[in-house]
Amino acid sequence: MSSFAGEKLECVRGERAVFSALDFTVEDGGALQLIGPNGSGKSSLLRLMASLIKPTAGRISWNGGNVADEPEAHRARLHYIGHLDGIQPLLTVAENLRFWAGLRPEGLNSNPGDATTEALDGFGLKALANIPCRFLSAGQCRRLALARLLAAPAALWLLDEPTTALDDDGVCAFHDAVRRHRAKGGVVVLASHGTETIEDARTLDLRAHGGIAVNRLV
């Protein structure tokens, strides 16, 4: 049975269609990689999947149920990591992570202390836990944003170019996290330029859906 799917999706931004008639399906434990040139709508599709924007046509479903009918349940099951890390520079690394974990519905009941320490460890940030985030490098900020994925469980990960600014070590930690998440039956959708790939991920090329992207330079 398909887990996460979209049918005939259309997205209009600033009065022009970014993509239309777009279908996708990802099964439990599956991964979907969105590829396409700049401006082809990868980020828009991810924000649409996260219910941050509404599709102008089509529907997105989880286990067959329309997510528009149960917005709270959908928000509770997803992690969205966009281009912006959402890091408050005046708070420490641990404080930022604890704040994010606390915003999650299940973060309220579980013990956020342990979960956040583990999550920081997962991305090699444990030693920096008490450092204010204004001292972090771009790559360290990215690691902290990705640590959110581990700090609170969620079935659906929506990641917009997650490995930007990461070093090899960070990329490894990220792929590890994705592998473990999928082994537990989690779903991953990520946007990338196609330079790096997730093992046996399905790809969705947004060029095929009428996006107005940049002109080819060569």
């Binding site: 281009h83 999650r104 519905p105 309220l108």
Partner: protein, 221 residues
Amino acid sequence: MTCFLLIAGRDLKLALRRGTDAVMVVTFFLLCVVLFAFGVGPDPSILGTISAGVIWVTALLASMLSLERLFQTDFEDGTLDLLVLGAAPVEATVMAKALAHWLTTGLPLTISAPILAVLLNMNAEGFATLMAAMALGTPSLTLIGAIGAALTVGARRGGVLLSLLVLPLYIPVLIFGVAAVNAAITGDAAGPFLMILGALLLVALAMTPLAGGAALRLAVE
């Protein structure tokens, strides 16, 4: 509720770490009032007559100072997306941030108002009513301002737009705030004016979550 406290607590912690928010607001309040005294001249009777109006207008402007940043910084660094996707309804987020804003601006303004009233030679009869009126009126200022701040999130030069949007809506609070203090000074009953201020606060409490929440949802689209 836990999320509400978490968000309000985070904003308060940030205000404390920056350390300048409350100090800046009170300093602005003080400087403006002193400027009035210089501009109008040292005649105590004139200063006493205009004191309630000056204090209220200045408090109104001071509470606008940090409103622009209420949602703007979170919008710029991506936190707003996470707040909208979090377990707390957006309405609760708006109220939590408004509470933190009031605690760092409205409350210090209310506490420092009597000191400025002394500077302006206000009749001592009016001090208690001034504080009561400020305690009822400044939360309304924050709540109305939060709607404006949510609407102007993401707008270029949002600060100017925010003032144009919010200042006209502050007029009822200003009128009844000044009227309450003047009534107390002249020996009339200030109660009815305070009750109207309370009613304005209740309206703002009901409207802000709805309007502010809707505005924030639009902002992340």
